[in-house]
Amino acid sequence: MSEERYITKEEKSLFEEITGKQFTRRSFLKWSTALAGAAVASGLLWDDKLGFFKEASAQEKMAGKGKWVYTTCQMCGGGTGIKVHVVDGMVVKIEPNEYNPIGVANISMDYSRVKTLGGRMCAKGNSGTRALYDPDRLKKPMKRIGPKGSGRWKAISWEEALDDVAKNLLRIRNTYGPESLFWCTEDSSFTDMQSDFNLLYGSPNFSMHSNTCDVARKASFKLVMGDDRPLADFANTKYALVFGWNLLAATKWAHLPGIWNLGRAKGAKMVYVDPFFNQTAAKADEWVPIRPGTDGAFALALGHEIVKNKWYEDEFIKNYSVGFDKYAELVKDKTPEWAEKITSVPAKTTRRIAKELASTKPAAVDVWSGPGHHTNATDGGRAIAMLPALLGQYDKPGTMISRQAMGGKRRALNVNKPKALRVDGLGTKYPFAHVSGIYTETRDAMLSGNPYQLRAGVFMFQNFVMSVPNTKKNIEALKKLEYMVVLDTMMSETAELADIVIPGSHYLERWEVNVNWVTFPATAIRQPAVKSVINGMTEQEFILALAQKMGLKDKDGKTLPAAYPDYISDQLKNGPIGKTLDEVLALPGAVFIGGETHYEKYKEKGFATPTKKIEFYSEQMAKKGLNPLPDYVEPVYKPTPEFPLYLINYKQAEHTHSRTFDNDWLMEMKPDNPLLMNSATAARFGLKDGDAVWIESPYARAKGTIQVTERIHPEVVALHHGYGHWGFGKIARGALNKVNQWCPAGTNDGQFLAGVSEKTSGMAVHKEIGVKVTKA
């Protein structure tokens, strides 16, 4: 379905009457919805009854007034550099900060050149003020007075809230032991201090958002080449082969569209592999539709061709890798014909792409959360990460490059290691899991009490119910917690189940250090542009006050510092940057740049694997009983005769995770998430565009609407992630949607999933289930 409309007869005749000119074409595109049916009906205006939204005020009235504050965005975790225009204590405009490479480029040379065009930022960053001044923001701490989920709360003072949390967390620790606390957080937010809090409390169960993001990718690259997040140099590549990463729109970093377009403009060929034709497919030279979760088989077939034809880089493999012979043996029978049956990618396409990839250098081969959210993600990701290894395409211009970072250094606390193991199997059941933990295992432990019962939970800016696969289990599990604290800017499906809800801060109200995800050292400061709009404490202030109130100390009597800026200043001074917070703030754009991009670092230091080489064969995996070679494993939750379609989720530039859905500007752009279905599939099931349907998996049945498209594999249906809220603000609940009355808030994709994690990395499996779709 296209979002277009053509001129009406009335418009045509009015035009001709006014101008005396004749249309030379039969019809043409009109982009306004002023007269025709609007996707979002106009007329729903900003609700100011809560009284802290500013008067509409165009920038022309503000010119020359107020001040500009250089800081970083956090509408997503990307940390784009921004500058904020503040007039009379109110934010009136957010613009890109060209000093910060996140909105410019990820290679130092490109950064120096392109920053003269100004940094860039996305629709979410431009809508930041709507989150800051959202009238649905929590303003006071709230204590639950009815049963869990009853929605009955009473407002309490900040002091009462501190007392309540301190008293209960101490009681839980004294009664059940420190390990009975589960603490989770968004991971680009003051995790340093939260980690220290957990160390002082004594709980091992500190988890972070990454587990629901890209930890399978991390494990894949780390196991193959030792770096858990190499960065693709799209600007200088000649050939990009990207698996399942809508980098142009699920914008992890604001420089990605610019560097991709720069590469294309310089003549690179871009090939994109995904079941869904998203923006990245649209701006690639070739789209390769593939069955979900089969990318590893495709990569092995490419490897087969490269090995069979001896297209690999012999010298590089000899000097910098181990296990090539075993890999060659593995891919011997992984022919393009073998892969075609699994992936649906024609064998001749595979042969051609293998040849192009091997003969066009430099090449960047990357993979993210498409294949990364499946039960076979780490193995598939390793097969992909081995392709650039075969061709020597690591750490050179135009390839996958390892980042050099300079951040702060935390002073170690003198505490005993917690006696209990983590509840989620990090490092044990999941030997190559990321430090962020395994959410589904934690959730299952809440339900089963194995290996022990979690009693308290602290949820920092984490909508656990909507973000972890299998919504129903999440709700049941959280109900088992004896004491649950939620810190967030808004009510949410998770906050509904809490005992106490603490209002959180917006990123324009607090401090942070952002170590940037670019290839050269760049570290930016997030600083408050305005005072707390709700006149509240930031989470940082709350936790520090809490630690003080609870009397948490290490063995030397050291506790958390009195103020967060002092804490980060000490870390910056103590680390490789060697400057205080004030000194970094005084740098242009409040960004520290510590050097240029360096290449072929492996020639001096080797790769950061146990053998210091690229590992086609992983001895460390063999030791843990895992397959040391990246053999193809079928996904576990495939479609069945009863649930015949693959359901995947996807993301676009208008939204982040499950948390931007109360933002009116973003919701105006994309108010709901119809289920995308190929026209052939729709015809097979007797469905048409706009139909109200029921979507059903073995785990849930829920309302949806159909959008018929050519942009998806016929065996696959897709939902945009993050919609379907019922406990969030009124806009997230569908208040702006005047068109879709069947499910105005859209459909929550997480409810249909089994709720498991990938066996090696512990990655939450977000994209693997069969569903059936029936007309409502």
Binding site: S2, L14, F15, A34, A123, A265, K266, W665, N678
Partner: protein
């Protein structure tokens, strides 16, 4: 002053739309700039076309002629077409007359509303808010003569230029101040 839209670089991220909303604190329903997505072809040979559009500040604006109360004018310095909301009676004739549907209706004010090319920013030597934030470097503004002689940052922008993209109204109708490069 005119727009340059390079379809090769547009990723339909809608940063331009939000940048515009932010610059003017526009309420829901008032969308001065819009990204249109058009799907073409049959699976698997499918294409998506993205077009970011706003008022094209035409040389011969049909909206200006359509306005019964002379609320619309063409400003002399930059050639920006502006609606004077004090005069506007909200009859919507301009929206109907515009080949691009650029004027939108503000329900709260009961007035027409439209892109001003960020004239307040142009006067200060700044690019319009949409151009300033464009993630893909798809949108640019400048003198039409500069655009035509490719005086735009190298590499970011590609030739060849065209007067219209498929589906775009015949430029002869209103002589819009915009040039394009079509997605390859």
């Amino acid at each position: 002053m005119g727009w340059y839209f390079n379809e090769n670089n547009c990723i339909a991220c809608r940063a331009c739309e939000a940048g515009c909303k932010q610059e003017f604190d526009l309420p829901v329903g008032v969308r001065r700039r819009r990204v249109v997505i058009k799907e073409e072809g049959k699976y698997p040979n499918v294409k998506a076309r993205y077009l970011s559009g706003a008022c094209n500040h035409c040389e011969e604006p049909s909206c200006l002629k359509a306005c019964p109360v002379e609320a619309i004018s063409k400003e002399p310095e930059f050639g920006v077409v502006l609606i004077d909301q004090d005069k506007c009676i909200g009859c919507k004739r301009c929206a109907a007359a515009c080949p691009y549907g650029a004027p939108t209706f503000d329900e709260k004010k009961q007035k027409m509303d439209k892109c001003t090319f960020c004239i307040h920013r142009l006067k200060a030597g700044l690019p319009p808010a949409c151009v300033r934030t464009c993630m893909g470097y798809a949108l640019w503004n400048g003198k039409l003569s500069d655009i035509e002689t490719q005086k735009t940052p190298e590499e970011i922008f590609r030739r060849p230029l065209t007067d219209a993209l498929p589906g775009f109204a015949d430029p002869k109708l209103t002589i819009p101040s915009v040039r394009f490069s079509e997605n390859k």
